[in-house]
């Protein structure tokens, strides 16, 4: 188990390095001149040359790469061209909102996916209807879901807010984590907590729907396969209830592919977050990156890419470990 853990950790480091290389390659092939972009298009040639030397872009590529690796391992992601803050500071400011949104969306996606997956296996009329609904659902882009939810729950029914993390007239909790719901809970501001949650509902659901459908379909497919295995027949031959067979014997065996899918879905959600934050004006990394794109703020874009990519790789490392815990055959390998 320890060895497996170390192996996966080593693989994770390799992938992180690959990610760094990929981002570096992007910086090299970028058609715009970063030095020119930094000092502005009207700056005289000497200023540009000076900036280029300051940034190290006059060095040969290997030296640039070494300097770049040194920088990012120190957590220095250069300065944003737009906000003029260090990108790492900007990320620190925007990340909590995204983490909070992503966390609740993941919870919803997991619960919804699990429930729907089991519903599908149940078959019958409910299962068939659920299957049709899921196929349809999978085709709806997140931005359409988000807009429809806003129109219905905000514009028509006036029951849920359609943008931001909190009502403008409320003061944000000054908590230690930056995760507002946690901070509000810690400081005992329950009215504020309610307001925060009401703001979370629509974006979190929007973000969760596509992953939930994918989880449900994967779980269903692997449950179907597992239910045809010989050990299920054995379990039935013992006279176990069908429910016990499904939950005790089938579900754990079907967990592997579903966990893998869940790990991959984190990537989908990272993409989805950009869309959802834009629709709901959610002040997180997604909004930050959309703005950076609009301003061609390349340091901000690469910095966010590195941060999100690293988060994805680390999450998938833990998914791998979880899988090994779930499957004794992997554990002893």
């Amino acid at each position: 188990m320890t060895r497996l853990f170390l192996n996966r950790a080593l693989a994770m480091v390799a992938v992180l390095f690959g990610l760094a290389v990929a981002v570096f390659v992007l910086q090299v092939v970028i058609p715009t001149d970063p030095a020119r972009a930094m000092v502005g298009s009207n700056a005289p040639e000497e200023v540009v040359a000076q900036a280029r030397a300051d940034l190290g872009y006059d060095q040969p590529i290997p030296a640039q790469f070494a300097a770049y690796l040194g920088r990012i391992t120190r957590g220095d992601l250069q300065h944003s061209l737009h906000t003029h803050n260090p990108v790492s500071d900007d990320l620190g400011r925007f990340a909590p909102a995204t983490i909070e949104l992503g966390f609740y969306a993941a919870l919803i996606a997991g619960a919804l996916g699990l429930g729907l997956g089991l519903l599908l296996v149940g078959g019958g009329l409910v299962g068939r209807v659920a299957r049709v609904v899921l196929v349809g659902w999978a085709a709806v882009p997140a931005f359409l879901t988000g807009m429809l939810l806003i129109v219905v729950f905000y514009s028509w029914l006036h029951v849920l807010p359609g943008s931001g993390r909190v009502d403008d007239d409320l003061l944000l909790p000054d908590g230690p984590t930056g995760l507002l719901t946690v901070d509000a809970l810690l400081t005992g501001q329950f009215a504020l907590l309610g307001n925060l949650i009401s703001h979370l509902v629509l974006p979190a659901v929007t973000l969760a729907l596509l992953p939930a459908v994918a989880i449900a379909r994967t779980l269903h497919a692997s449950l179907e396969q597992v239910m045809g295995e010989d050990y299920i027949r054995t379990a039935r031959s013992k006279g176990l209830r069908e429910r016990t067979v499904l939950l005790r014997h089938a579900l754990r065996n079907a967990a592997g592919p579903t966990l893998t899918m869940a790990g991959l879905l984190v990537g989908l959600m990272l993409g989805g977050v950009v869309v959802v934050e834009q629709i709901f004006s959610w002040p997180g990394l997604g909004l930050y990156v959309t703005q950076s794109i609009a301003y061609s703020d390349f340091p901000a874009i690469t910095g966010t890419t590195l941060a999100l990519g690293a988060a994805y790789v680390v999450i998938n490392f833990w998914v791998d470990v979880a899988q090994a815990v779930a499957d004794p055959r992997l554990r002893s390998a």
Partner: protein, 298 residues
């Protein structure tokens, strides 16, 4: 037909047997490809529809509908008009064409690049395989949407760059599938039997290994159409597609969010169009998947 009941074949029929087996073998091949074609023709059908659709549009993609700006859906403007008085219905028809063809283009490019890499890795093996597949794994281990966003943002938003970015993150799946199938085939006794029969390496790969990967690749391609329609729309939505005034469904939806509360149709109509297109892709993909798998089982 039993082998033992009439074990002594009639000698007089032997002369004709040669042509007989060639013909039958050919028809067996035809039924295989025929099956693929039958499974995939709906894709062609949709392609024709989206190609023809813009011809039926009452207005050009940037023409002004005289009904005025931000009009509600009516007989004069079926899906209403946008803030610049353009006809939303017409623009959706143009957008459908772009979305669908772009999705197909990315799949084609991704599948070709991935298949070649996967086939080389699987067929050559050894360190070539190791290098290619570690690279592939590396791509797969990174979050595709984030990488795609970074690539387009770096190259500068345009439809071409979006397609390049998506192809960059899409090919590894095909590489892995093709490589896996080739290795699976190579591990079967039939590959060993062919080697013992004295079949050349090139022929072994071409005739005994690669055909096994065709069906899985086509299944994946057909299932991917919907995914790509959605991915393209999302990138376009966050501003990473063709710059305005191009009629792109995601971008149309995004620019009209300002009017979402009062004139929802302007953003909802292109979104629904994306959903319809993706649904068509899903249904076709599922159907092709079933058919091809049944065909392979037969």
């Amino acid at each position: 037909m039993s082998a033992v009941k009439q074990p002594v074949a009639d000698i007089t029929t032997r002369g004709g047997a040669a042509t007989l087996w060639r013909q039958r073998a050919a028809s067996a091949d035809e039924s295989r490809t025929g099956n693929l074609v039958r499974a995939l023709w709906p894709l062609l059908g949709v392609t024709l529809v989206v190609l023809v659709a813009p011809l039926l549009a009452p207005y050009g993609s940037t023409d002004i509908n005289p009904a005025g700006a931000l009009q509600a859906p009516s007989g004069a403007a079926w899906f209403g008009t946008d803030e610049l008085s353009r006809d939303v219905f017409s623009r959706v028809l143009f957008g459908l064409r772009t979305s669908w063809l772009s999705a197909l283009a990315v799949i084609a490019v991704g599948a070709v690049i991935g298949s070649v890499i996967g086939a080389v890795a699987g067929a050559v093996g050894g360190w070539v395989d190791a290098v290619l597949m570690r690279t592939t794994d590396l791509f797969l281990a990174m979050p595709a949407p984030v990488l795609a966003i970074a690539v387009v943002a770096a190259l500068g938003p345009s439809l071409r760059n979006t397609l390049i970015a998506l192809a960059v993150v899409w090919w590894p799946w095909y590489a892995r599938i093709v490589r896996g199938e080739v290795r699976r085939m190579a591990a079967r006794p039939h590959a060993e039997a062919a080697r013992l029969a004295g079949v050349s390496r090139a022929r072994l790969i071409r005739k005994h290994l690669l055909p096994g990967a065709v069906a899985p690749v086509f299944v994946t391609m057909s299932l991917d159409v919907a995914n790509l329609v959605l991915a393209l729309a999302s990138l376009s939505f966050i501003g990473l597609g063709a710059p305005p005034p191009a009629a792109e469904l995601g971008a149309m939806s995004a620019r009209a969010t300002t009017y979402l509360l009062d004139q929802p149709w302007v953003s909802v109509a292109p979104g629904v169009a994306v959903a319809v297109l993706a649904l068509a892709g899903t249904v076709i993909g599922d159907r092709a998947n079933r058919r091809i798998r049944e065909g392979a089982a037969r």
